[in-house]
Symmetry: C2
DNA sequence: GGCGTTGTTGTGCAAGTGTATAAATAGCCT
DNA sequence: AGGCTATTTATACACTTGCACAACAACGCC
């Protein structure tokens, strides 16, 4: 119960704490992504973002020249996290190239990469790539980086099979496999409950191996 | 040169013509799609849309209860055109199932289905499917319709090869092939100039046929 | 403890938003 | 030709938007 001495300062100014610059920018970026995921770019206003970050709108202008800059930084952060997670599945020691490829596909077709929120963000931003050159370039770089990773693993897999593809063939494999992963990723994000757990990953591995012309690993499946 | 009798009605009201209701709604929907493609949902204001349609903003409210209804109708129109075009490639008389499947893949991986503007629209709208249930349902129906088409053709192709897949296997094939087409479609829309004409379609056909376990048609390729 | 720095708040403003509504006029009917 | 009516324009309004700026207070430093 409040003490009798209740000052009741009608026009009390809000209490606040000074966070580090790093932390505040991070919070604002996260709040931006949350706002965009929930209400789209149209609903991501400086006030909505600030409210979610637990600050007032004016503070945004203290850390970013304008709202557009905050959006760009948020998009960059999103892309960074996505590619980072995707590539993380590739660092496996003591695994055959084929196992690493399968692990890569599996990682990309399960949580947390299969995620409706991330998909909404990706779609919302990428939808403006056609009009915004800076967004288009950011996507292009992320896409090529991803495809190069795929190409590198494919080269290892085929080398282990004593096959010597030329550059053009390797490129076609990478394009196709990238498409398979992307397509299944979208299906999973948009209608995840239509698939049983692990089903998309199983389909992905099977399709990718068929694309590469690998014989089914009977000894593993039949046991 | 103007005649001497220049009335110069300073506050002249704009001349206009009365178009039919059908035509006006169509124009407004088209203008809406143009605005969204160019400036995103945030930039698609009633005034922008009206300006593009050659009318004034107030008229929108005469044909639609609110802006949201116009947007929904525009999305429905977009989806309708996309699936219509995609399915059109399937109506081929006097063609083997395998040829029809190849034609289907080819049609989906060339203009006008591979198109940056359409992709921008698709991404912009689909990005809100996570938050807007009506959008999510619209997509779900379109997706399942498309996948069922694929499944039907796949069944014919396999039947012609004397293979009897069960329902689960057929479903997996349709999911995988749908993913291949979607993934390549995205790659083509976002970075069309990175691929030579027909390259995506060639990759798509090859990957789809590998997924189905069809033997390469040597007699056609080697000639 | 006092003080300066600066992160943070609160308020204000011009431009833009969707919507409501009155005024005008184009085109059809007789 | 002259009116009727529905289409279209134009204006108004309440509200939101991004941004500018002054006041304030949290924290480090002496």
């Amino acid at each position: 119960m409040p003490d009798a001495a209740d000052p009741a300062p009608m026009n009390a100014r809000r209490k606040f704490r000074r966070e580090g610059e790093e932390r505040r920018r991070q919070d604002l970026v996260d709040a931006t992504l949350d706002s965009v995921a929930e209400h789209g770019l149209e609903g991501a206003t400086v006030r909505t973002i600030a409210l979610r970050a637990g600050v007032t709108a004016g503070l945004i202008r203290h850390y970013f020249p304008g709202k557009e800059d905050l959006l760009q930084e948020a998009y960059a952060a999103l892309m960074g996290r996505m590619t980072e997670q995707a590539k993380a599945a590739l660092v496996m020691e003591d695994a055959s190239p084929r196992q690493r490829l399968a692990a890569f596909v599996t990682a990309n077709l399960n949580a947390p990469i299969i995620d409706q929120r991330v998909f909404s963000l990706w779609a919302t931003f990428i939808g403006r790539a056609g009009a915004d050159p800076s967004l288009a370039r950011a996507h292009r770089e992320g896409y090529l980086g991803f495809r190069n990773e795929v190409e590198a693993v494919v080269a290892e897999v085929l080398a282990a099979e004593r096959r010597k593809p030329d550059a053009a063939e390797l490129r076609r494999h990478a394009i196709a496999i990238n498409a398979i992963i992307d397509g299944l990723w979208i299906e999973g994000c948009l209608a995840g409950e239509m698939f049983s757990p692990g089903e998309l990953a199983a389909i992905g591995i099977k399709t990718v191996e068929a694309e590469l012309g690998l014989v089914p690993p009977e000894q593993f499946q039949e046991k």
